[in-house]
């Protein structure tokens, strides 16, 4: 069941439609409702390996629907500490619950100050309005 459009205000957003939830020097990453809606039902998640390092604005994996492939852009730099195995097994979970069960990876931040450069809800909504 696809989720209804929503954008939580406790997240930080990247202009490529990725989100980060920052807590205690770590961040959980995912893609926004807008991104999953544009892709359609996801059928594949190509995750990074645990321990891999990711750079802010760098690509850490891929998600696929039947008709499209999308790079996953990391909003922040760090090291992958956990991959959401549930998405590997059932990628459509992202469509069902993009901000909850549908998270993709958890990273340990190497530079928490980078978060200052990300978009807040208001700024992301302004970006969406231009699309």
């Amino acid at each position: 069941m696809a989720a209804a459009e929503s954008y939580p205000d406790d997240l930080l957003y990247h202009r490529e439609h990725d989100w980060a939830r920052v807590e205690d020097g770590e961040a959980v990453l995912g893609i926004t409702w807008y991104a999953q809606d544009a892709l359609g039902e996801l059928v594949h998640f190509e995750p990074p390996e645990a321990g891999a390092s990711v750079a802010k604005d760098g690509i850490y994996g891929e998600v696929e629907s039947v008709k499209a492939v999308s790079d996953l852009v990391s909003p922040l730099s760090g090291e992958v500490v956990e991959v959401n195995q549930k998405i590997v097994d059932a990628p459509e979970t992202v469509n069902d619950d993009p901000y909850g069960e549908g998270w993709l990876v958890r990273i340990r931040l190497s530079d928490p100050s980078e978060a200052d450069g990300l978009l807040n809800l208001e700024a992301y909504k302004a970006l969406l309005a231009e699309q």
Binding site: H44, E64, S65, V66, K67, A68, V69
Partner: protein, 440 residues
């Protein structure tokens, strides 16, 4: 204008609807400087009858397999193609369809490709096959591209006993892939597993052929094990017609099986169009090149088929695609499917056994030294004629027998050797004629 469908009255009416006064005006966006201001320098248009006459005249100047008793193989073989293959492939619903982008109108081709993929997987002992590659040479390059991305390595190991055309094509492709090629020389007509293992160290893939270009049976399980030891993908280039009697590459540890499909269901056709096949273990599914058909259901719950895993392909993944291939060889692959269904498992074993038995008989009857006397062979073997092979072939052809392929063309040191191919279409009497012709 044989194939024009419009009348002058149609054209007038259509120009009127468009709102232009002439055909020329339709081309007004083409700058004057790049327009052709003269008729093309081609011949007078021909009628159908005249076309047939011209083509018959050209065809008559070729010496085809029905006019000369031929033992030429070396990669393309004169196996029997049954009438049902020709009949089905000429049905317009298959012949004149495009790639099955619209599955509701293309269940026939889609199901047939699914059946073809199944047959290729069964023959090779693999988990996934695509809908075909161009031919037996380009699928080798495809395998290298898969291996490069699967291993992150850039070395290709090629046994010298692999068909020289396959090796040439891999060499042509390799620089663009950022890969380099290392050859492993043959030892008495086959590949030494130890040398193969040493070469495969740090390689993306290691490719051998079974039976090899000389017709010899390679120690294939040991070669696959050698590649696996070095953590290179073991790639076997196999002849489908041999797979009723010879073990499937998937059953002795290969990662990828490739081959030229022509021997199973395609005419000689001066080298093409034929089909190449590529099949792999399941873990490489997402790295496979080209079209793949998958099973699904429709809105009513009926089983049906679609092109699937398309995010691998150029039209979606573009510069990151697993290959640029689009048009493949579907119709020829369907010829292969129909042929293999016509044979069935018993027939496939029998055709292999007949070829092999006839080839053994020819070896015995020919009073000539074998080039590689220690090796077992399948349907092809090399003999030494004690003089320039080209001279021996020329002389034999004056007796209406083409005894085989001169190996010196690819291996200069073998200029006294002829590679003799014996398919099930040759008879014991034919072999008698071969013996006579080479004995002259």
């Amino acid at each position: 204008m044989t194939y024009a469908a419009l009348t002058d009255a149609d054209r007038e009416a259509m120009l009127d609807t468009i709102g232009v006064s002439s055909i020329d005006e339709l081309f007004r966006d083409i700058p004057a400087g790049v327009r052709l201001d003269r008729p093309l320098d081609l011949g007078e248009p021909l009628t159908e009858q005249e076309i047939v006459e011209r083509l018959e005249e050209l065809a008559a100047r070729n010496v085809h397999a029905g006019e000369e008793l031929s033992f030429v193989g070396a990669g393309v073989y004169d196996h029997y193609v049954p009438a049902v293959v020709d009949y089905i492939l000429q049905r317009g619903e298959f012949l004149t369809a495009y790639t099955p982008y619209q599955p509701e109108l293309s269940q026939g081709v889609l199901q047939a490709i699914f059946e073809y993929q199944t047959v290729v997987c069964e023959l090779t002992g693999m988990d996934v096959s695509n809908a075909s590659g161009y031919d037996g040479t380009t699928v080798a390059a495809d395998a290298c591209y898969v291996a490069k991305h699967a291993t992150g390595r850039s070395k290709i190991v090629l046994a010298e006993t692999v068909n020289p055309q396959v090796r040439q094509v891999v060499r042509t492709y390799a620089p663009g892939f950022g890969m380099e090629v290392v050859d492993v020389p043959h030892r008495d007509g086959v590949t030494d597993p130890e040398e193969f293992r040493a070469a495969a160290e740090g390689a993306a893939c290691a490719i051998f052929q079974q039976p090899n270009f000389f017709g010899c049976l390679e120690p294939a399980p040991q070669l696959a094990a050698a590649a696996n030891d070095a953590e290179a993908l073991a790639v076997a280039h196999v002849d489908p017609i041999s797979l009723g009697v010879l073990e499937a590459p998937g059953n002795y540890g290969c990662a990828i099986a490739i081959g030229e499909g022509q021997s199973a269901g395609n005419p000689l056709s001066f080298g093409g169009p034929h089909y190449g096949f590529i099949a792999a273990r399941e873990e490489f599914t997402r790295r496979m090149p080209g079209r793949i058909v998958g099973e699904t259901t429709d809105v009513h719950g009926q089983r049906g088929y679609v092109l699937t895993l398309q995010t691998r392909e150029q039209h979606i993944r573009r510069e990151k695609a697993t290959s640029n291939i689009t048009t493949n060889q579907t119709l020829l692959a369907l010829g292969g499917l129909i042929y293999l269904c016509w044979l069935g498992p018993e027939g496939l074993r029998e055709v292999g056994e007949t070829c092999m038995a006839l080839a053994e008989h020819a070896k015995e009857r020919l009073d000539l030294p074998l080039l590689f006397p220690e090796q077992a062979t399948f349907k092809e073997f090399a003999v030494r004629v004690g003089r320039q092979a080209l001279d021996a072939i020329r002389d034999a052809r004056t007796h209406g027998v083409n005894p085989g392929y001169p190996l010196g063309r690819d291996y200069p040191e073998m200029d006294d050797a002829i590679l003799v191919a014996v398919t099930e279409r040759r008879t014991i009497d034919d072999i008698d004629r071969l013996v006579e012709a080479l004995g002259e």
